[in-house]
């Protein structure tokens, strides 16, 4: 059961891919002088998760067991912060990590947490502390192929059903950019390609907005919602020169999700697969996905 669960649980693949991205940054893009920052995100997140599980968790299972189950999600959130959020200060990093994890426990509607943990952590750190920032240009163009291949690999291997979110977001965003840059302004193609191939955008599309717990359950609602996020992000990025717009817009759009869930009645998120799960596996996956994917 453990092995099948491992291969069916998208979170493990996500952790592998994110750690590859981070290693790429550290070894090839010289992020090695920021290791203290990554360590702070990981240690704080893991600690906060433990405290939260102790304080807020359901008491029917021993705390260690509950904590262990949540670890992959915590790692994913920590990777999310490490890959996107920069700061000079330890306290800012601690703040971002605490906000990320704590939000999963205290901002909940109908048993679903409202915000994507790392997106909220990033937004809070950038807007509230004034000492953190997002570096949209940190990946360079060399990373694109790596991103493309790995993201594709991620999709193929996990058959994530919420791929529609990524495609609706990326499709809308790219279409709007194309219309603006190529059709309207008349820039050559490489101008557009450079805009669309930033690592941060792809990371957001495939690993952040896809979080199944913080997107609408109904597939049409989900696609509309994600296209709207893309359109607003495009507007803010293009006309208001806002860096990291998709992340901020995502955080603003997440409180709409419970509303959309009421308007569009749908089966609650369940991990479907070509193979039927045993009852035991089903229960296991349900437990896992009562926590976030990111």
């Amino acid at each position: 059961m453990q092995l099948t669960a491992f291969f069916k649980d998208a979170r493990y693949f996500q952790i592998i891919f994110q750690s590859v991205f981070l290693s790429y940054g550290i070894f090839f893009l010289h992020w090695d002088n920021e290791t203290w920052l990554y360590a702070t995100y990981f240690i704080t997140s893991l600690f906060t998760q433990f405290v939260c599980e102790w304080v807020f968790g359901k008491k029917d299972v021993p705390v260690w067991q509950r904590y262990k189950r949540g670890i992959p999600s915590v790692l994913i959130s920590s990777f999310g912060l490490s890959l996107l959020l920069k700061t000079n200060y330890v306290w800012v990093a601690v703040f971002a990590a605490v906000v990320s994890i704590l939000s999963k426990y205290i901002i909940r509607i109908k048993g679903k947490h409202v915000f994507n943990p790392s997106a909220l952590g990033i937004t809070a750190a950038v807007l509230l502390t004034g000492n953190a920032w997002i570096s949209p240009g940190q990946w360079g163009s060399g990373a694109v192929i790596l991103f493309g291949v790995l993201s594709l690999g991620f999709i193929v291997t996990t058959r994530v059903q919420k791929l529609d979110v990524s495609l609706a977001f990326l499709g809308t965003f790219a279409a709007l950019l194309y219309t603006r840059q190529i059709i309207y302004l008349g820039w050559p193609m490489d101008y557009f390609i450079q805009s669309i191939s930033t690592g941060s955008l792809l990371l957001f599309s495939f690993f952040m907005i896809t979080d199944p717990r913080t997107t609408p359950d109904h597939s049409i609602a989900r696609m509309i919602w994600s296209a709207v996020v893309a359109a607003v992000a495009f507007y803010l990025a293009t006309f208001k020169f806002l860096n990291g717009a998709p992340i901020f817009v995502l955080v603003m759009a997440q409180p709409l999700v419970p509303l959309l869930d009421i308007l569009f009645k749908a089966r609650k998120f369940a991990w479907t697969s070509s193979k039927k799960y045993t009852q035991q596996e089903e229960r296991f996956l349900q437990t896992i996905y009562s926590r976030s994917v990111m």
């Binding site: 953190a132 490489d190 020169f241 860096n243």
Partner: protein, 492 residues
């Protein structure tokens, strides 16, 4: 008569005809510094911008002209000329630096001597030409404003379509590169105006100097960018650009290209001192190639607030004074607020904060690697950075004591490592440096530890060594990752 035009895309760009004068990339003896280095000072706080463009034009000033895309129609009080020396000061102060240290003889008690010396990198010229003879306006081009400022005649144009603008510029004696249209069109549609400059001969004669002063413009716009694309319209070579930026909050960084710092804090052989410019030129080129070219290089970042004492270690030049900073356009030091500086609405309240953060970025761009104009953001990153290379003078005297013998052994290893660092950083063969290494009497008296002795030995070592450190690191990372995964599996 049709003459040549310089188009500056935020900076100085060059018309094709021009290359026939200065040739491509006139490089130094063994260095690779480009002779086309533009310099620009950017000052940014909130939505307020001050841009100062260095004018290194040499030649008949009648042939000078430049075109800069700007986001707004500038008023006369938003344009001024400033003292040329400011660029030299900023460059001297922020340039990559060489530091010297002196070893102590462990067998004696020497007074420690520490002296810092620096060799700065001199920037080469941007040469540009053009010409004039303004005729009346052509279709779809509006002359929004016309000023005489200092030695310059300035026009601000807005256009409806690129062909109109192109015709206008051509008919008025500016020779626009053939494929400039690909850039002009997007600029016009982005609602940019065109700031067109030529020299007013009458005003120029009054000044009694033989150079053209930098032009400084100030405006309010959320766009924080430098339009380099216009400058590339017909230049298919590489151009260097140095950006000196001043902000209140922290470093600036590029948002649409990767940011990286130039390698710093490395110990290099003593003989590099004589040829530091070539060393840094090679180092820059090497790193630029390794980083896939489309990169913004950080060369310096420091808090240079006038009350802040410690501004570099060591300082290559004098730190910019308050007056220099004001001259560069740092308006918040002026005791005046922005609305005094220009008549643009002061949309944000001034918090009275007098901090000044200095960032020096170095770009080497060409059409292929830089498809987009440079976009920037001000970050709250206040970390200091300087490009700094270290040379160490050996101790001399009698080394017969045990510590002395140990010292000689260590020095030998250290010097070998320096040679290794030199070839790695510059991407050059050690043979290129052999002459430098031999030419001067080595400060180390013991022949055993002289560079001249060590170089053949170093060459021998290199030939016999096959190194793959990155491969090993990656492999171990992969193994560790896999092991970690197995553990996680156990956790479930």
């Amino acid at each position: 008569m049709k003459k040549k035009v310089l188009i500056i895309g935020g900076l100085i760009a060059i018309s094709p005809v021009l290359f026939s004068f200065c040739g491509f990339y006139v490089s130094k003896a063994d260095g690779t510094l480009k002779n086309k280095t533009s310099q620009v000072i950017l000052v940014r706080d909130g939505n307020k911008n001050v841009i100062t463009m260095y004018n290194d034009f040499k030649g008949d000033t009648k042939d000078f002209a430049m075109v800069v895309p700007v986001p707004v129609v500038l008023k006369k009080e938003n344009i001024k000329v400033v003292d040329q020396s400011i660029f030299q000061k900023l460059n001297d102060y922020s340039a990559p630096r060489l530091v010297e240290y002196w070893d102590q003889n462990p067998c004696y008690e020497y007074e420690s001597m520490k002296k810092s010396a620096a060799a700065d990198k001199s920037l080469n010229e941007v040469v540009v030409t053009s010409a004039y003879g303004i005729k009346r306006s052509v279709r779809s081009v509006t002359v929004e404003a016309k000023y005489i400022i200092g030695e310059y005649d300035i026009l601000i144009l807005s256009a409806k379509e690129s062909s109109g603008l192109k015709d206008w510029l051509n008919e008025n004696g500016y020779k626009i590169p053939a494929n400039a249209e690909e850039v002009l069109d997007p600029y016009i549609k982005s609602n940019l105006k065109f700031f067109v400059v030529k020299v007013n001969e009458k005003e120029k004669q009054k000044l009694n100097n033989n150079f053209l002063r930098p032009i400084q413009i100030s405006f309010t716009s959320p766009k924080f960018m430098l339009p380099i694309r216009l400058g590339m319209a017909n230049a298919d070579g590489d151009q260097d650009l140095i950006v000196y930026a001043f902000t209140r909050k922290g470093r600036i960084e590029c948002t649409n290209y990767r940011n990286t710092s130039i390698e710093t804090g490395k110990n290099i052989p003593l003989f590099v001192q004589k040829n530091f410019n070539a060393f840094y030129g090679n180092l820059f080129t090497q790193q630029w190639k390794n980083e896939d070219k489309s990169v913004s290089f950080l060369e310096y970042a420091w808090n240079v607030t006038p009350i802040n004492q410690m501004k570099c270690d060591p300082c290559v030049g004098n730190p910019p004074t308050e007056q220099d900073l004001v001259q560069s356009g740092v308006w918040w030091l002026n005791g005046k607020d922005w609305s005094d500086y220009s008549d643009i609405d002061n949309d944000e309240p001034d918090d009275g904060n007098r901090n000044v953060h200095f960032t020096r970025l170095h770009f080497r761009y060409n059409r292929k690697s830089f498809a987009q104009d440079l976009m920037f953001q001000v970050t709250p990153n206040t970390e200091n950075f300087q490009a700094r290379y270290i040379i160490t003078h050996p101790a001399n005297g009698d080394f017969s004591c045990d510590a002395g013998k140990k010292y000689l052994q260590e020095l030998r290893q250290r010097r070998k490592k320096e040679l290794q660092e030199l070839t790695r950083l510059t991407g050059t063969d050690i043979n290129n440096w052999q002459e430098d290494a031999m030419a001067k009497n080595d400060e180390a008296t013991n022949t055993d530890i002289q560079y001249a002795t060590l170089i053949p030995e170093y060459k021998h070592d290199v030939e016999n060594k096959s190194s793959a450190p990155t491969g090993i690191i990656l492999l171990s990372a992969a193994v560790l990752g896999a092991a970690g995964l197995m553990r996680w599996k156990g956790l479930v």
